[in-house]
Symmetry: C2
Subunit: 343 residues, 2 copies
Amino acid sequence: MKRFLTLLAASLLSGAASIAVAQTADEPIQIIQPPKSINLGMVELGKKLYFDPRLSKSGFISCNSCHNLSMGGTDNIPTSIGDQWQQGPINAPTVLNSSLNVAQFWDGRAGDLKAQAGGPIANPGEMAFTHTLALGVLESIPAYVREFKQVFGKDKVDIDQVTAAIAEFEKTLVTPNSRFDQWLLGKKDALTADEQKGYALFKDTGCVACHNGEAVGGNSFQKMGVVEAFKKDDPATGRFAVTGKDADRFNYKVPTLRNVEYTYPYFHDGSANTLTEAVRTMGRIQLGKDFTADETRQVVAFLKTLTGDMPQFTMPVLPPSSDATPRPQPFPPKAAPAPAPKK
Amino acid sequence: MKRFLTLLAASLLSGAASIAVAQTADEPIQIIQPPKSINLGMVELGKKLYFDPRLSKSGFISCNSCHNLSMGGTDNIPTSIGDQWQQGPINAPTVLNSSLNVAQFWDGRAGDLKAQAGGPIANPGEMAFTHTLALGVLESIPAYVREFKQVFGKDKVDIDQVTAAIAEFEKTLVTPNSRFDQWLLGKKDALTADEQKGYALFKDTGCVACHNGEAVGGNSFQKMGVVEAFKKDDPATGRFAVTGKDADRFNYKVPTLRNVEYTYPYFHDGSANTLTEAVRTMGRIQLGKDFTADETRQVVAFLKTLTGDMPQFTMPVLPPSSDATPRPQPFPPKAAPAPAPKK
């Protein structure tokens, strides 16, 4: 965080930001703009909550379990593991740069990060808790009560404060300074010839129609399988589940391609293990284009230049539970022993 | 880490270390001595491995899952959650100050941290992987291969290097500067009157017979249930499982009481939820002493002064998998659809 702010200050002082605007105006991808207004008290509280598994029924699953900040903000498995090892229905999207998304979740059912943050806590297949129980845990921990009061100025902890703090922390999870952004900012040797060819292909073949803007995606909903059906047996319905409109069937939020080297496996079902496979499939089913091996290699090389500086922060130390804190329930209670049979 | 080294340097420069020896010579508890010789390259590599869930079959469980450094180096549940949500047989001991233990695991079956580190990776009830498969994952990740070579100077990654690096990181997880250590070092107002009374009780009633030394425990095996049986139906056998000697039945490594405020629930089965409960039970079954409510409160107050400075470090960013990296297996493979019944 500190490093990020330093970088921001340096950019502003050197006038790099205004140069950037001039240089990237013609490009369909823009450099990442850092958040303009951050409440640092909320960020520090939100960071603790993001890492706190006591917001789950089991006491084992935190936001960071599936949106792991050591691993590109994802869990790197096709679909996530929830309470009691339940298999999730969809691939966990990265939390990195998620503040740039037009909406949250693959189907956009949450309008912003704050609306998203409450979902997994109460989802029976994920953290399997309830907002009421989560608040009961937080209110039983004196250090949390003090920190909530300091940050929000109220005597009572409520779920709006919890989700607002988590969302504020998530706003800091942007990844500036990728080699591609350096190139956009004028460092012409930041990309190799192959990477530049890959970018040219990415533009010329039409990838940029959906993957554009600061996040190289995240800003529209599009049909998965425009030219060719994605998978004949794919049971997910995408944004149709939210709008009920037939036109939204199989529509998904276009994922960001920032740090895509870290966010494998790919697609809403996590079915593509490698970038090579993802690029070939996307070319075929979205653009009707069979990329050659060389073209695929070049597009993949370009995509890897979108890896930015990962958020750097000290791992939070969570305040300990008190004697009054309700204990987590990681396992079903043991059944009482059966009564001895009558003789 | 940096903070810790700074603190160490300050202590040495001011001559505090020699004062400490003089002042604590008469006390059964000594201040925590920082590790004398640390290989920083190994520490940084070991930190990544400690946080890397790719050392598990599922890709979901890392060392930090059960020895969570945001939560006192434990998981704060009675027994841990393993692969496929299996219930572990015993409470996860804290990794904090574990380098001070006479041996590792509750039954001491590993002689040191290095010997311990390989266990959970290959335990079918924990990370459920094999050393061979874990090495295959690491060797498929170019950034790991380079870092291992830099640190160990060999072309091949082996399990000895993996466990040595994890152990080296764990050696840094000491927690100096508790209020009790400050008191031992001469800051007489570091403890309240109640806390000092609690310490006097802790000594006078005999708790220190087992909970002594730098870690306030961790340096001997003792029978759980000296005066009174712990639980009539406790199925665990303790150190008997290692030595096969009847005298070792129900013997366990005495746990450290450093940061005990953070390491709930207590005992090898995690059956005591609060420090109050743990102190009362220990008094009764180990010492034949029924602590009064006031005495219990004072001993608990003393125990909370053993909370030191938690390790402070930047959360590691793990190198991404390559196309060649074997993918994790979080869920059993889907069964092939049953053939249609013949009509």
